[in-house]
Amino acid sequence: MTSLRIFFIGGLMSFRALFNWMNPWIFVPTILLGPITQILLFAYVGRAAGVGDDEFFIIGNALNYAAIPGMFAMTFTIGGERFAQTLGLVLVSPARRIPLFMGRALPVILTGWGTAMFGIVSGVWALDADIPWGSFPLVGLVVAVGAFATAGIGLVMGAINLVWRDGATLGNVVFLVLLVFTGTNVALEDLPGWMAPIGRCLPLTHAIEATRMVADGAAWGQVSGLVGTEMLIGAVYVVLGLAALRWLEQMSRTHATLDRV
């Protein structure tokens, strides 16, 4: 029961306290306007280049943008403890680490999911694209798995942020890597040969592909393999993140660097 309380209530409190982007002055330009303008930019690049259709770019960029809260919010809700001078208190508490840190991931996943879905709906509206409304429940499910996977990589980054203070730069670099390697704007088979294998190891790649297939009318059975792979990749990053948190926690205790900012 205590773990459940830490997971749900503790996670939500940490998210609200440390992810200051929930302020509307930040939330609207970054989380709401950001995906729309990125979708428009690449949809027009696609039109100019005569590549793909609007739907292709709407889905790719909307999902890519789920990585923004996925990475930045996870980084802030873990690394932010250090700046708030509360990291020591968190780490000396007897609370189990999995609910402690995974609880912070749940609001992040929901925010990432909301960002991507908002991007898809706005993109469809702005560009008059054709994604059947009937496919939206399955699109929502696949996007949720993608948001989970980005929260996984965010957990790894949150751990790194315990020892490396420039989380904003790191978050942007990973976001850009995802933009180029995951098939956001170019299908994996059209990327240079050395890029596609890297993309297949990253979060979002399989979710983007599956979402495009669902939007084109594919049924669950046709995308379940891709969704399962995305889930597995997300789980691997979560495990990596939790292991990194444990290791870096021990290291920061050994070297007395816990509160160094």
Binding site: T37, F42, A48, V51
Partner: protein, 256 residues
């Protein structure tokens, strides 16, 4: 002479500060580089050499825009966090002469980004820069850089009372790339959007770059670029004085 020295010292000092900042020195180059890569990867699918060259020239200049948006928007905020904003405002040097060399320092990083993207495109996409009129091309890049720095000046004073100004600057990134025609021909945009493009100096700067590369005359575009840039500077100087005076009068300079 003392004014020139102040401008030079301020420019040199701020440039050094930015060059050693991972966010400004590294990310301001890496961010447009990766977006340029993403755009060129899309163009590469059909492998039309003419379209690739068109996109390659615009992509090279994307970094000049990036060098200003988020960084210029946070210029005043950084002084505020450092506790130096009151000192800067109270100094006998006009506020504009403190802000301008900083935005020119940012634009210098943008120029570095141009070189980085050109070399990157050559290496990754086998896309060498083909320019018929090199003096015109270089002049166009410098004019684009100069006027984007003036836009940074305007942006930095406009958001002086906005506590989370970085979010506004960040939100301007993609619309700027789109509306100024860095990687998309303006003719593709809806008609009602095009006047917005004409009111942006980089639009004319990028057109001048393309005209020079194609061997056409860049002078009309350069003149338009300079005129719009001058309008930015005049507006920023006027607005800057009014907003700073207002912030002093209402004791809201520190926003605490």
């Amino acid at each position: 002479m003392s004014r020139l020295r102040q401008l030079w010292v301020c420019y040199r000092l701020q440039l050094k500060v930015m060059m050693f900042s991972p966010f400004e020195g590294f990310l301001q180059v890496f961010f447009p580089l990766m977006f340029a890569t993403a755009a060129l990867l899309v163009y590469r699918v059909n492998n039309d050499p003419e379209a690739m060259l068109y996109a390659g020239i615009g992509a090279a200049a994307m970094g000049i825009w990036t060098s200003q948006t988020t960084t210029a928007a946070t210029l005043v905020q950084r002084e505020r966090w450092a506790g130096t904003l009151e000192l800067v405002v109270a100094a006998p040097t006009p506020f504009a002469f403190v802000v301008l060399p900083i935005t020119f320092g940012m634009a210098t990083l943008g120029l570095y980004s141009v070189v980085a993207v050109v070399l990157w495109d050559w290496w990754l996409f086998d896309l060498p820069l083909q320019v018929e009129n090199w003096p015109g091309f270089v002049l166009s890049i410098l004019m684009a850089t100069f006027t984007i720095a003036l836009f940074g000046f305007l942006l930095s004073v406009t958001v002086v009372r906005y506590r989370t100004a970085w979010a506004i600057g960040s939100a301007l990134e993609y619309p700027g790339w789109l509306l100024c025609g860095f990687v998309v021909p303006l003719a593709l945009l809806p008609g009602w959007v095009q006047p917005l493009s004409w009111a942006r100096a980089p639009t004319w700067g990028v057109q001048a770059m393309r005209a020079s590369a194609a061997g056409e005359s860049p002078w009309f575009d350069l003149a338009m670029c300079a005129a719009v840039g001058l309008a930015y500077a005049l507006l920023a100087a006027w607005l800057g004085n009014r907003l700073i005076d207002s912030a002093r009068r209402h004791a809201t300079l520190s926003l605490t």
